[in-house]
């Protein structure tokens, strides 16, 4: 099940207009992803930390989410220092740890945690529904927005159907092993899930037609204007501009 532990809150960040947050988080992430100099990356990292603090996120939940990237980063730390060409830092038998490899690993680590923290602070502090509406208001293609919202709505139903099928095979004594029978059963299970999802989609579409659906969605969401939004935006814009200037001047 999808959980949204950060979505409910009353912090300063929570009360910002979701549209401003989406735009700022996107621009910030792109700038961070394209930056290479360490002072820039470290500055961006501290901005992310400040945002996380401002959003008053539960530290344990934050760490739980960072753990997901951690495994990916671990893989990078194992592979890159050994496979990159360049000045060797350390040599163990046949293996050479190179300087550019280590530098790249550090960069990737800082970048990914920075972006992840920023997204947690700015984006996951709204529900997926609000995010959908914000994207809609930002004139993202309606199809994408509704793909997001419908996926969110029906992923639970499909999960339930999956669980039901799983119970049905278990109740008749199925135990998974590496036999052909086992693989075939899983193939049936997945196939059945696709068939059910597609007939479900058909019925949902019919139900929508019955309620006079003609291909256009309307949203009820309305966002309140507030000075806070502009203060936040100006602050973020200055920060982002600063990062870009530092990066371009090759400072550091």
């Amino acid at each position: 099940m999808i959980q949204e532990p950060f979505a409910i809150g009353s912090s300063w960040v929570h009360r910002l207009d979701p549209r401003f947050r989406v735009v700022m988080a996107t621009v910030f992430s792109i700038v961070v992803a394209l930056s290479n100099h360490f002072p820039v990356l470290l500055a961006a990292f501290s901005i992310s930390v400040i945002l996380t603090v401002l959003a008053r996120l539960n530290l344990r939940e934050v760490l739980k989410r960072l753990r997901v990237v951690f495994w990916f980063l671990l893989l990078i730390w194992v592979v890159l220092p050994l496979t990159f060409k360049g000045n060797s830092l350390y040599r163990v038998g046949q293996f050479t740890i190179t300087e550019p490899g280590v530098m790249l690993s550090i960069r990737i680590t800082i970048k990914s945690t920075t972006i992840l923290l920023a997204l947690m602070a700015m984006i996951s502090t709204m529900t997926i529904v609000t995010l959908g509406h914000a994207l809609n208001r930002l004139h993202l293609p309606e199809k994408i927005v509704h793909l997001l919202l419908m996926t969110y709505r029906y992923i639970f139903v499909i999960e339930q159907e999956y669980q039901r099928l799983l119970t049905a095979i278990r109740i008749r004594g199925f135990r998974s092993d590496t036999s052909i029978h086992s693989y075939r059963t899983f193939a049936y299970l997945i196939g059945m899930l696709f068939v059910r999802a597609s007939t479900r989609a058909q019925r949902v579409h019919q139900a929508m037609l019955c309620r006079a659906f003609r291909g256009r969605f309307y949203t009820l969401a309305r966002f309140k204007p507030s000075v806070r939004n502009w203060i936040f935006s100006i602050w973020m814009a200055v920060v982002i501009a600063g990062l870009i200037v530092m990066e371009i001047n090759g400072y550091g």
Binding site: I128, V129, G132, L149, M150, Y152, R153, Y154, F156, V157, R200, R203, V204, Q206, A207, M208, L209, C210, R211, A212, F213, R214, R216, Y218, T219, L220
Partner: protein, 242 residues
């Protein structure tokens, strides 16, 4: 059956799913303003198919359909039909696709061109009427089965239809929600057709009960007197069944 003034009139309608015999075979049906009819028939006898044909979701292979006195054939003809006839689906999860209750109920009114404010006020009114006030911001997939059913009924009623088609509205409901549904339906000033397997429910909300046999629809007019043996506690004591 008298065709004049009929809301729904089907004449010799046939329908077959691909590669199978006709589920609906030369079916005639006339439904008037103010009628409340029930359909009890076995599984697979074509009850849901009949509803879907009326709504234009399935196209009959032959026969004539007139709704509100006008022949309907093409997808476009059915647009106005769908505004005036509300279909409650068998599975509420098919109907509730919006994330929040208010959005889902407002979906229909918005589609028929109501403004945002109007749609919201209609939706709130409908939810109030069904005793669901305070449900506006609830997440649809986290509702219980009974709540889902009532919300999907609200979604249909918010379109302010003249006729309701209810496809097994009581399936999976507990006694209380069923009683509530009976109360709501009998209190509505609407014509409707109800499909149900539950005899008690269908007799409580409809006047005439039909059945579908071999693809045709029949009025189950005759009272069948029948006897059967039964057991229950304290059965030895003299008692009456009414």
């Amino acid at each position: 059956m008298d065709k004049n003034g009929a809301i729904i009139h089907l004449e010799k309608v046939c329908f077959a799913y691909y590669g199978r015999n006709n589920v609906i075979d030369e079916l005639d049906l006339t439904f008037h303003q103010g009628d409340r009819l029930g359909i009890i028939a076995p599984n697979g006898s074509g009850k849901t198919t009949l509803f879907h044909i009326i709504m234009g979701l399935l196209k009959p292979c032959s026969g004539k359909i007139e709704i509100f006195g006008r022949p309907v054939q093409k997808e476009k003809d059915f647009h106005s039909v769908r505004r005036r006839i509300g279909l409650l689906f068998q599975d509420a999860d098919d109907q509730l696709f919006s994330p929040t209750v208010l959005e889902d109920v407002a979906f229909g009114p918005l589609n028929i061109g109501k403004s945002k404010e109007e749609a919201i006020s209609i939706s709130r009114r409908t939810l109030d009427f069904l005793g669901l006030s305070g449900f506006e911001d609830r997440i649809t997939f986290k509702l219980s089965g009974g709540e889902k059913r009532l919300v999907s009924l609200a979604a249909v009623l918010a379109m302010e239809p003249e006729v309701l088609l209810l496809d097994e509205p009581t399936s999976g409901l507990d006694g209380n929600t069923k009683a509530k549904l009976i109360e709501v339906l009998t209190g509505l000033d609407l014509s409707y057709i109800v499909i149900s397997h539950e005899y008690d429910f269908i007799t409580a909300v409809t006047e005439n009960i039909y059945t579908i046999e071999n693809g045709k629809i029949f009025l189950d007019e005759d009272l069948h007197i029948h006897q059967h043996e039964h057991v229950h506690r304290l059965g030895k004591q003299p008692h009456k069944h009414i």
